[in-house]
Symmetry: C2
Subunit: 472 residues, 2 copies
């Protein structure tokens, strides 16, 4: 360990002032572990710039002293991509003070938000001018625009609006050489060479520090309809989605929930109740929205679900009678992970295969894992229409004690091997970070890893941008 | 000049056979100039691989002999990005023999087409299974999927469906080291590191050779309605678009046409007639479509345009009574460039600014250019809803002879300076190629050029992939 970090901190304090340089360990401590508590890091300081110019200054110091930076937003990532190494060799770069919304234009359907703006804050601000930023996810109250962009976040409305990659119109970032890439003009069409914006999206802070993002807006929702349906299988759930999509453009949420997951939620989460009276092996939560106040979205969804029922696609369905019930349906979906944790240890896999292949994959992979590791319970829930399922494996009642440590890695290898054999992705929306780096290295084609390393080295030859993340 | 190209050609002929190595100058000649005849190149051979494996073989030979390759599809590009240098130092790589559609899945809404598949061929093939690939443009009968992807092509339906960047689900490409990047699984969500797909889209063949592309499909159109409207100004045209967008999701084409351009078309293109009886300073062509046979799209557009007329947004409107008339309306838009050429020399600028700024930009920039260069006629037409206008300047009746050579560069500099000052792009959809490279170098921030060069050098250290294009 050199004294370079100390020198950098000293210089930063002189240049940027004390507000931007936090060295009190008690203030740093909440931010050096990932929020799920699996990876514990350390940092001698937390730098908190308030402007792009201050980020430039910090990146220049990092280059001068060869001290790596670990950019961080709300610290809600799932792959420990914003957690510094444990040896204190890197410095945490908190983007949370860069939290102004620079502009909102309903005319251009664009907002420009700084990296530290919290997603829910943006939602509220654009709603005030009759617009909507359509990406949302469970951590909306603390995750930031910079983090969402750097991880190419997904969430529950990807079906209609895509991931951040589709919703980002441009990025402002400080590159590792201290230059500023300014991509905020929000042009809908721009063919001036390689897209640095697209390269920075999902780069997990390894190619530069995103300081602000131009985001595409859509008209605000006038009304929504949320339905809970019971189906026989994931294949029937996908059939329902295709049935709806052929008849309306209003479906924007479609989440698959197995009975097993619903049971856990009903058991562990207070105030929940089953939407349907009978049991169904699988369920699909359907959300339709409209921006047009003249459209009766509830009636539309009701009539479509009635037709799907008559055609035998679904076994039963109920539409939320009011907003409180709609929220209650979504709660059943959003608290699955929480319920699983209350039940015991769970191995989570955020995977994707092609949409058409996913129904069979869920069933087959669950059977294979349960056969190979007797006693465990394997199941998949989530974004069926995106081909993205959270494939979770939990100990179950018959598993041996200590199974997580004993079998966890083996189970994950098996799941990742099945996904890879199916042409899928071992990280659909959570990224690689630290936690999936070994599996990525094990399973990615060598040519891909070679290309990623070449790009990383080309833009960050000193290795100061979030080393040890994403690139194997 | 070395004898390396001759050695490569010799080796290629032995390895790949005579069909893949064309050396007859008369067969090569049609392909070594850009289709608009502005740039004339030369190549000692045209290599025409029939498979990805053959492309790998060719790229390996190019690396071994340090001979650059110039990938080419239908040779319909607007920036001479597929035209080899005049000194014969590079070899043309025709992708047109790789022309099979590997798969079409209505279920996954995906088609996988090889690089040499002609756009119109793909349109027809997916239509047979009730689907549609929604990107289209004038050159659809000869442009190829590989070229469209490599140039991030746009066209007339970008408003609703985006450019190729939005429509490509994945790319297969041979990288400069001879490795194959396989991104064809068509996953909707995949966060395994930097997106090589997005890096290759719009890279104009400078980072690798695209061999096949997975393309997103949408349901086939059941019906369309095409209207011609007269408006007072570009601002009114944009107001009309926003009025329609607030009330329907069916608008997918919206093209601005000035009276001046319409006059030229009526004068030079046989069989054309004005859709409206009176004159209007500006016109907007509106296309609405529906995939639902139950929707009466003509009635919907008619009622919306009647409301826009009552509110004074438009001055007049007519809806095509049948498909022949719809085609006739589109012909008025699609033959503007042809009519301009018949009238005399024209300087074309494919530019974009933010959508909200475009109406004022067209009017202001035209006035400034006409004031600075007396006698010329400046006007803009095209994709107003994308903020992308083809800003054309023609000699006009009063301009001095030889104005193109005398003033062309000065006018282009002025237009590009105005665009840059407005935060816009000097290449909205046509790319940089050879023709815009000097202007790109003049106007791009040095940090951007530095980053592009670093990426180029990282992935193509030997400089064998289409040198002299895109990267200044």
């Amino acid at each position: 360990m050199t004294d370079a970090p100390a020198k950098l901190i000293d210089r930063a304090a002189k240049t940027l002032g004390p507000r931007a340089v936090i060295t009190d360990p008690s203030e740093i401590e909440p931010w050096v572990s990932d929020w799920r508590g699996r990876v514990h890091g350390s940092s001698p300081a937390m730098l908190a710039p308030a402007s792009t110019e201050e980020v430039v200054e910090i990146v220049r110091l990092a280059a001068e002293y060869r001290v790596p930076l670990v950019p961080q937003g709300g610290n809600t990532g799932m792959a420990a991509g914003a957690t510094p190494p444990a040896d204190g060799s890197a410095i945490l770069l908190s983007m949370r003070r860069m939290n102004s919304i620079r502009s909102i234009s309903a005319d251009n359907r664009l907002a420009v938000a700084e990296a530290g703006v919290v997603l829910a804050t943006l939602h509220d601000a654009v709603h005030e001018v009759g617009m909507r930023f359509p990406l949302t996810l469970g951590a909306r109250g603390s995750c930031t625009i910079g983090g969402l962009t750097s991880t190419n976040a997904g969430g529950t409305q990807v079906l209609k609006f895509g991931t951040m990659r589709s919703l980002v119109a441009g990025v402002e970032a400080v590159l590792p050489d201290g230059s500023v890439h300014s991509g905020l003009s929000g042009l809908k069409k721009d063919n001036r060479g390689y897209s640095l914006d697209q390269l920075l999206i999902g780069a997990e802070g390894t190619l530069g520090v995103i300081t602000a993002v131009a985001l595409r807006l859509v008209p605000a929702i006038a009304a929504r309809a949320v339905a809970w349906t019971g189906v026989d299988s994931p294949a029937k759930a996908l059939e329902l989605l295709r049935f709806l999509e052929a008849r309306t453009q209003s479906v924007e949420g479609f989440e698959l929930v197995p009975q097993d997951s619903l049971d856990l939620v009903l058991k562990h989460v207070p105030g929940t109740r089953a939407p349907l009276s009978g049991e169904h092996p699988w369920h699909a939560l359907v959300e339709g929205t409209t921006a047009d106040p003249a459209v009766d979205i509830v009636a539309e969804l009701q009539s479509l679900l009635a037709a799907a029922l008559r055609q035998g696609i679904i076994g039963d369905a109920v539409i939320a009678a009011n907003e409180a019930q709609a929220e209650a349906f979504w709660k059943l979906r959003d608290t699955i992970s929480e319920a699983e944790r209350a039940e015991g240890q769970t191995l989570a896999h955020d995977i994707s295969v092609s949409v058409a292949d996913m129904p069979a994959f869920i069933v087959d992979a669950a059977a294979k894992v349960e056969a190979a590791f007797p006693g465990v319970v394997a199941t998949g829930f989530g974004h069926l229409g995106d081909g993205n399922i959270h494939f979770h494996v939990r100990a179950g009642s018959h598993a041996a004690p200590g199974w997580y440590d004993a079998e966890g890695e083996k189970i994950t290898h098996m799941v990742d091997d099945l996904v890879t054999a199916a042409g899928g992705s071992i990280s659909a929306e959570h990224g690689i970070g630290q936690l999936k780096r070994a599996e990525f290295a094990r399973l990615a084609p060598p040519a891909r890893i070679h290309a990623l390393r070449a790009i990383k080295h080309a833009l960050d030859p000193l290795g100061i941008m979030n080393p040890g993340k994403l690139v194997p």
